[in-house]
């Protein structure tokens, strides 16, 4: 079976659309957010954070199991997926992935739970479980990420309350951006050449024609027109819409309502500047540490 591809990034870094695009390649299978590396076993990952119970963490796995076990995501199939999770809570997470892989077949699993990059423990577990996994380090300008993060929280009150209650330690988007990327860079720095690749989301999404074949070449999968065309339709994924009662999300809520590529909008994607005050901390600027890392990653 092929090694999986994990997309690592902070939240609000285009990971849903990017994972959706790559996951639609005929040789790949795009998954919603599974959050499995939060624990050694399925049960441990399942119970990890109150935040996940409330809102985000479980829907992706429930939808995946419902879809793969029964070919449909309904309230009933999700309920049975929940039962399956309960019955297999002692399974190591590798065994859960292997189970999903068996159901998917000989395709690259593509997954992108942003939570993986929030704690060194999670990334290290991921690399321990899949030491040869391909990793795509997805980056977005810290200003763009921060603005998107603040906007999402304001639009989704339940998410805002969940974050406030989750005691995750970092509610400032700049701190999240910095801590996440620092961690990813540090953990992936010594991996063999080509195991971890880095890409700016803005560059990728504004020039899919140039970058999608490169990603395919890297993953050693088809680069023909038909394959690339499939990637241009993330909306065709069974997970690219709101899920059934019991598992409505499992992905970025904006992606679930607008999963198709808006080529005209993406072509206009541009990178903001590191200079100037922050929307979410009026009168303040990015810290020197953030500026240094952002420049290292190619932002100005």
């Amino acid at each position: 079976m092929p090694e999986p591809l994990f997309v690592l990034c902070p939240p609000r870094s285009y990971s849903s659309i990017v994972c959706g695009i790559i996951g639609q390649h005929p040789d790949c299978y795009g998954l919603p957010e599974l959050n499995l590396f939060l624990g050694d076993t399925l049960g441990e990952a399942w119970q990890k954070y109150p935040l996940f119970k409330l809102f985000l963490g479980r829907d992706g796995l429930l939808r995946t199991l419902a879809q793969l076990h029964e070919g449909a995501q309904t309230a009933d199939t999700v309920a049975r997926a929940q039962e399956w999770v309960t019955q297999h809570s002692d399974w190591p997470v590798r065994k859960v992935f292997d189970h999903i892989q068996d159901l998917v077949g000989d395709r690259i699993l593509v997954e992108k739970s942003p939570m993986y990059a929030r704690e060194q423990e999670y990334i290290e577990r991921m690399l321990h479980v899949f030491p040869k996994a391909s990793i795509l380090h997805l980056i977005r300008h810290p200003r763009g990420m921060g603005q998107s993060y603040v906007k999402l929280r304001s639009e989704y009150g339940v998410l805002n309350r969940a974050v406030e209650n989750a005691n995750t330690g970092a509610r400032d988007p700049e701190k999240i951006w910095m801590a996440t990327h620092e961690l990813i860079v540090a953990v992936t720095d010594d991996l063999p050449i080509g195991q971890c690749m880095r890409i700016k989301g803005e560059a990728l999404l504004s020039d899919l024609e140039s970058y999608l074949p490169q990603i395919c070449e890297w993953l050693e999968i088809r680069t023909d027109k038909e394959a690339i065309n499939s990637m241009m339709h993330p909306e065709d994924s069974p997970y690219a819409s709101e899920g059934p009662p019991g598992a409505p999300r499992g992905n970025d809520p904006n992606f679930l309502t607008h999963p198709a590529i808006d080529s005209a909008r993406l072509a206009k994607l541009s990178e903001p500047t590191l200079d100037g005050e922050l929307d979410w901390r009026p009168g303040e600027l990015f810290t020197p540490e953030t500026r240094k890392l952002a420049k290292q990653l190619g932002y100005q």
């Binding site: 050449i193 890409i199 990728l204 020039d207 490169q214 890297w218 240094k292 290292q296 190619g298 100005q300």
Partner: protein, 453 residues
């Protein structure tokens, strides 16, 4: 391909003057090798850097020029930012009222015949805290100053990349000296000058500063290839840029960008260190100045990369970080990552072709890291690599040939008499920093020159 046992040491200990730490530049002139030396801390008369000539047949070095002494000024004592936090350790050297050498070294040299030169002459650029100068020698015995300090901008510390191209000579500003600090590597503006009569000190701009991009802080390397002139920059914001020109018509010339954003490595490809043409491509060594970290711009630590550019503008990554780029997926063809697989190789300082083999020399600063972390053993030192096809690379010499404080290969010169490799030795600084930290550390001082044939 020359193996390590084909090299012999033709100069060591700074060729008799231990304070000469660097074999900085070389040229082959009138049948002999000329060597410009440098002193990392040129603050006493005995530190005066020299230009040496090597007579291969006799195996002897002769001093043909030595820096004159001048009265110290405020700028004689300002800290050297290239050594960053280590600069404080040099303070004890910096209060000497006696005359001191005008020059701290000789950065670049080339053979050129300008329109008022009767025959090809040797032109040499100085590194001087009073402003870099251009020296000229018609006979290799006597040298004269043929420029104003800094070509009219005394804050310019030096000029690198003295290069004859067609019927003109080029020089790029390198480093800046102010009343507060010295940055020997990076200047305030990326200026490149051109002259067809350097004997009379007539230099004019060959391009607008930074090729119009103010984030280019220096033009760090120039080289001819495919009948064009290529210039590589230092850029702390977005990484090096490479520009090309036919250098036709009157200066300033038309320059075109060839590669930007450090080839997608961004500012971790801070600067171009060396370029040379080989087997139909321009090979480009990049990295960062200083000890793997640019203290002035807070970039790094990072390791070097090697690229090659074809006349069409297409390019390959030879050694470095595999990446997606606007020009396609770049896989390191040598299968070597950044630093040629060694994190502490921070810069490729030199590239040269000898008998159809490409050689490169690195700057490897691991010894200073060992000191910083209190490692039980001091290891590291420059590496010399070779390749017959530009893709498969073989280490020829490593670990600074036994002295881990011999960090860099500053100059490689291919001559009819063989290949000469000049190194930079930082033991003076290292030994100073080691004082009080550890006993029994006293590495030999002074540059080495190796001769391979």
């Amino acid at each position: 391909m020359l193996s390590a046992d084909r090299f012999s040491v033709v100069a060591s200990g700074g060729a008799g003057q231990e304070s000469l730490s660097t074999a900085q530049c070389m040229a082959y002139f009138r049948g002999s090798l000329y060597l410009g030396t440098g002193c990392s801390s040129s603050i006493e008369a005995k530190d005066a850097p020299r230009i040496l000539r090597y007579e291969s047949a006799a195996g002897k070095w002769q001093t043909v020029y030595e820096s004159p002494l001048v009265s110290p000024s405020r700028r004689s004592r300002v800290p050297d930012l290239s050594v960053g936090q280590n600069a404080a350790g040099l303070a004890k050297f910096r209060h000497n009222p006696e005359p001191l050498p005008r020059d701290t070294g000789y950065r670049s040299m080339c053979v050129f015949q300008g329109k008022t030169d009767d025959a090809p002459a040797l032109y040499v650029s100085t590194m001087s805290r009073s402003g870099g100068l251009i020296l000229r020698s018609a006979d290799g015995e006597t040298f004269e100053v043929v420029s104003e300090p800094g070509l009219g901008v005394p804050d310019t510390y030096s000029f690198r990349g003295l290069l004859a191209f067609g019927d003109r000579i080029f020089a790029s500003a390198a480093g800046v000296i102010t009343d507060e600090y010295l940055d020997p590597d990076v200047g305030r503006e990326a200026k490149i000058y051109v002259s067809d009569d350097p004997r009379n000190g007539q230099w004019i701009a060959a391009a607008e500063p930074g090729f119009g991009d103010p984030s280019n802080v220096s033009i760090s390397a120039v080289a001819p290839a495919f009948g064009r002139l290529y210039a590589g920059t230092a850029n702390p914001d977005m990484g090096f840029q490479i520009w090309q020109t036919e250098a036709s018509g009157e200066p300033p010339f038309d320059w075109l960008p060839v590669l930007i954003d450090g080839g997608g490595g961004f500012n971790h490809n801070f600067a171009v260190g060396a370029m040379t043409e080989f087997n139909g491509a321009l090979y480009v060594g990049s990295g960062i100045t200083g000890f793997g970290y640019d203290a002035v711009h807070d970039v790094g630590p990072v390791s070097c990369e090697l690229l090659r550019i074809f006349p069409s503008g297409n390019w390959d990554l030879i050694a470095g970080q595999m990446r997606f780029t606007p020009d396609g997926l770049k896989v390191p063809l040598s299968l070597l990552g950044r630093g040629l697989g060694d994190f502490y190789n921070s810069m490729i300082w030199s590239l040269a072709v000898y008998k159809d083999v490409l050689y490169l020399g690195t700057h490897q600063w691991e010894a200073f890291r060992c000191l910083e972390i209190g490692a039980p053993d001091i290891v590291g030192g420059y590496q010399l690599w070779a390749s017959a096809d530009g893709e498969k690379w073989t280490p020829v010499i490593d670990d600074g040939r036994g002295n881990p404080t011999t960090l860099g290969v500053q100059a490689i010169q291919s001559t009819p008499d063989g290949l000469f490799v000049g190194s930079g030795n930082y033991s003076r600084l290292f030994n100073l920093l080691a004082e009080g930290r550890r006993a029994g550390v006293d590495f030999p001082q002074g540059f080495e020159v190796l001769h391979g044939c």
